[in-house]
């Protein structure tokens, strides 16, 4: 075995780290004991290895923690955001339904039916309205000026055009008379636009939307400050 060759130095280096086979180890041991040069090279390698093992470890001057911004993660969504997101969707749905009832429905089913539907929605049609109702709630008093007409469910309500008693009533009474009110509506244009309830719903919907957007923005700002 030639000890001056670089190949042998590599073997000595591996031997130093215990990375040679058993047979190779025995051969190197014999060679080192017999050859002075080989022994010296092994000592040199050993010295360097020992010295490097003693290399002092430096203390880090700062932490190397990884932030969300560094790795491009999206900002965390605040816990309340899903709730407000749901609220926004609900508000939007309520808004759509409300507009459908008030504006779209009249154009589809006709102004008169829509007016009745609108009144039904508001609870203004009572038992003695169109199509009958609960006769128990209808006034049955004989003293009532309309008593003869309110006989039962099968009774047809006369309108003002046929010269019924409602037409002959004074204006003050007509104002209180629901039958007269229905007939009056028949002649009016259907109402479009928003009433106070719809405006309220619209205001709530817009507020909820604003609140949801605001909370999301707040969450993003807070996350940016933190990171």
């Amino acid at each position: 075995m030639k000890f001056t060759s670089f190949r042998h130095i590599i073997k000595l280096s591996s031997y130093l780290d215990g990375k040679v086979s058993n047979s190779e180890e025995k051969r190197i041991k014999d060679a080192v004991s017999e050859n002075q040069d080989s022994q010296e090279v092994l000592n040199l390698l050993q010295q360097v290895k020992t010295l490097l093992k003693k290399t002092p470890q430096r203390k880090v001057s700062r932490n190397f923690l990884v932030t969300e911004k560094m790795v491009g993660m999206k900002p965390p969504i605040p816990r309340s955001v899903p709730v407000f997101r749901m609220a926004s969707v609900t508000a939007a749905l309520v808004l759509v339904v409300s507009f459908t009832i008030s504006d779209v429905l009249p154009t589809i089913v006709g102004p008169k039916a829509a007016s009745v539907a609108l009144m039904s929605q508001r609870g203004e049609v009572t038992a003695y309205g169109v199509g009958g109702g609960n006769p128990d709630t209808a006034p049955q008093s004989a003293e009532s000026p309309l008593a003869p007409e309110f006989i039962g469910n099968d009774e047809v309500v006369p309108n003002t055009e046929s010269g019924g008693p409602a037409a002959n009533m004074p204006e003050s009474l007509q104002a209180e008379n629901p039958v007269a009110k229905i007939d009056t509506l028949d002649q009016e244009e259907p109402r479009f636009g928003l009433d106070s309830i719809q405006l309220g719903i619209l205001a709530i919907a817009i507020s909820l939307l604003g609140l949801a957007v605001g909370i999301r923005q707040y969450g993003i700002i807070k996350w940016r400050k933190r990171s």
């Binding site: 470890q57 880090v60 190397f64 932030t67 790795v71």
Partner: protein
């Protein structure tokens, strides 16, 4: 701390778990980067880059030694910075003597009367080692740092440097010999307990 659990959590995207691993390994990673780069600032950059890259690619970790995997990451980060440096070479701010010559390794000989005596033995040793490491080609340097300073297995070094085992053995042997030659030059400066013995000096 259960390392495997933290790794699993980190693989699911839990940054807090990963940061616990960062706190555990940052000294080792920074020291490796410092030995390869030879400068604090660049070592810090490489360390941070390595941790960011490690988190981004943590799903590619398929078990085994997390330390080795992390050291491979930091080695790559160091190589990247060194490549960039090579493309855009910068002039180091070396002190210049009265004669206009550059003073090499000013920490060693800037003020020999006062500083050398005051420095602790470990500091002197560290400077000697770092000086000699800096003189090695970067491939040799990396191998000797991983094998002898970080005490990694040959296979782990091969994995970290993506070189065959034979290449690692060869580079390590060469690097050790070169280090020995270089450190011999600092024989006088090394603390007595660290002095290298040789046939010439005995």
């Amino acid at each position: 701390m259960d390392e495997s659990l933290l790794i699993q959590d980190a693989q699911k995207g839990d940054l807090d778990s990963f940061n616990r691993l960062v706190l555990e390994y940052q000294d080792m990673v920074f020291n490796t980067a410092y030995r390869i780069m030879g400068e604090d600032e660049e070592a810090a950059d490489a360390t941070q880059d390595a941790f960011i890259s490690a988190f981004t690619h943590i799903n590619s970790f398929r078990g085994g030694s997390f330390k080795s995997w992390l050291l491979r990451t930091v080695t790559n980060a160091c190589y990247d910075i060194l490549r960039k440096k090579k493309r855009r070479p910068t002039v180091p701010l070396e002190p210049i003597s009265i004669d206009g010559e550059e003073i090499e390794s000013p920490s060693w000989i800037a003020d020999p009367d006062s500083s050398l005596e005051e420095k602790s033995e470990s500091e002197e040793l560290e400077h000697a080692i770092q000086h000699c490491l800096n003189n090695l080609p970067v491939d040799f340097r990396t191998v000797i740092i991983l094998a002898d300073i970080q005490e990694m297995d040959y296979k782990e070094v091969a994995s970290a440097t993506r070189k065959p085992l034979g290449t690692v053995k060869s580079r390590l042997a060469r690097a050790r010999l070169r280090m020995r030659e270089c450190l011999q030059d600092f024989w006088e400066l090394l603390p007595s307990k660290f002095r290298l013995e040789s046939r010439d000096t005995s």
